[in-house]
Amino acid sequence: MHLTGYFLQRLIRGLVTFWFAVTVTFFLVRLLPGDPVLAVAAPGMTEEIRQTQLQQFGLDRPLLVQYFAYLRELVQGNLGVSFLRSQPVSQVLMERLPWTLLLTGSALLLTVILGVPLGVLAATRARGWVDQVVQITGVVGQSLFVPSLGILLLYTLGLMLGWFPIGGAVKSGLTGFSYYLSVLHHLILPCFTLVLAQLASYVLTLRATLIEALGEEYCDLARAKGTRENKVIWKHALRNALLPTTTLIGLQIGFLVGGAVLTETIYAYPGVGRAIYEAVGQLDFPVLQGAFVLLAATVVIANLVTDIAYGFLDPRVRA
């Protein structure tokens, strides 16, 4: 019963967040200094073309009328037209979204797979040398600038050692199993760039909460009952320590998407982020605006998934 209420509340919150994102972009684009026509058409047009564009896109109508028209189009999945490719923005971006989802999704999964054992290791050896190393690496890791890290990996592992391809997402002309192998091969460097850039925050958060949990009375009780320390750590303390980490995953997804934009730029990875980079160079505003709306939607959905996971992990939500 309560779980449905919780999910409903989260769903509404997600919808509000998305509505806010859409509204903010709409008004930013139109109220900021700069020609609103630029948001729908190529820069450097003649005055005559500008006027027709104003009319064609309804930019001469009152702002609120435009706003509701924009929302109506959005609900139907219409994000405008990329003037550069003369293609609907939604089509341009939807071709690329799967790559971004693959990249960010695998990075998130790998971060958790690596982050949990590392956090446990540091917490259970608090103040030992493993912990010291984890803490120092953690501070440096949190300070890494994603493009710097990407360039470093690309230069060393991709160029000097030649272990990995340095750009693109897949070799053309492959089918079947070798296609998927090539996809995986191209994925490794960008994925690791993102993992290394965000691993530190997870490990440090998990370490801090786990140390706190291990000092709690229920852990003492478990030990007093004769439970092995390993079981106390993995069964009792970790379950509770994972809750703040789950919250962090939700909070960090926005950062992850930003990192993906930078990473895709470096590795010429054909995702939404690379589309943003190309659109910046060409001042293709419809694509920029559509990409933000699409990424915001992705983040909102990912957050919703984390919230649902949280609901299942935390018995207090169910109670």
Binding site: V139, S148, Y277, F285, F292
Partner: protein, 295 residues
């Protein structure tokens, strides 16, 4: 050096009438990592200030293209033969200006809204909602959109970064100020007829001041990263150098695949600044906390 200091001063307990700020400074001074990081930041500020004395503004073309580090060019040259060291030095200036200016703006907005949310119950819900919603959104793509629309310049970058960095500050300030608004002295101030503005500026603001100190450092270092990110994507000020822009040039010209020095040195500059900022704020927090400081 710090070690010997500690051993000579440690036996004498600090006098009890020391002000909290002095106690913090005493403890901070003994932390070699914190002091070292503070020195690095000050050095970078100095480089930013006297950049014109250290190197000529890198412009035009040189004959020596993509030369590795040498005596004449300690950081090598880029694809147009410009000295990379000079670019990093001048980049320090812009990165610092943007870091400090946008963090100042973000702190101003963030602290004002944070205190307001904690003090005015009616404003708490909308402000908190706004903060939660903004923190959930992917900020970089939004900054890209706005910066591209307004047109790249130093002012644009400062405003755009500040505009999307304040929610973090508001969240921290609000939670700290919230615990203070429940303290008896705030009630007392209200009872004797203190105006809302007076209570907020005289009682709540000093209570959150230590948090603001940490926020300034961390927000500034994050702002430097945001600036580098935007510049790397080609949204940097076309007239000036920044660390991100050096990376952008290397990426666009393809120099990053042949000349490691074009990307290594600006990357190290960013890393050094951000690590130092983090360490300074950790050291400051430790020094301020009576539990972690030793006296």
């Amino acid at each position: 050096m710090t070690m010997t200091n500690t051993s000579t001063t440690a036996p004498t307990l600090p006098p009890a009438d020391l002000k909290p700020a002095q106690r913090t400074w005493r403890a901070f001074r003994r932390n070699p990592l914190g002091m070292g990081s503070a020195a690095v930041i000050l050095l970078m500020v100095l480089v930013a200030l006297i950049a014109p004395l250290l190197a000529e503004f890198p412009s035009g073309y040189g004959i020596e293209i993509l030369m590795p580090p040498s005596a004449a060019h300690p950081f090598g040259t880029d694809d147009l033969g410009r000295d990379v060291l000079a670019q990093v030095i001048w980049g320090t200036r812009i990165s610092m200006i943007i870091g400090f200016a946008s963090s100042f703006l973000a702190i101003l907005i963030g602290v004002a809204l944070g205190i307001l949310a904690a003090y005015a119950k009616r404003l708490d819900a909308p402000i908190s909602m706004l903060v939660d919603v903004s923190l959930a959104l992917p900020v970089l793509p939004l900054m890209i959109l706005v910066a591209a629309l307004v047109g790249p310049s130093v002012t644009t970058l400062v405003v755009v970064i500040a505009l999307f960095s304040w929610p973090e500050v508001t969240r921290i300030v609000r939670s700290q100020a919230l615990s203070v608004t429940r303290l008896p002295y705030v009630d007392a101030a209200r009872t004797i007829g203190g105006s809302h503005f007076w209570i907020m500026t005289r009682h709540l603001l000093p209570a959150v001041a230590p948090i603001i100190v940490v926020s300034v450092v961390l927000t500034a270092s994050r702002a430097v990263m945001s600036e580098a990110g935007l510049s790397f994507l080609g949204l940097g000020d076309p007239e000036s150098w920044s660390w991100g822009k050096i990376l952008f040039n290397a990426q666009r010209s393809g120099a990053l695949t042949v000349a490691w020095w074009c990307t290594l040195f600006p990357s190290l500059a960013i890393l050094l600044l951000v690590v130092s900022s983090t360490l300074v704020s950790i050291a400051y927090n430790d020094a301020r906390n009576p539990k972690t400081r030793e006296n």
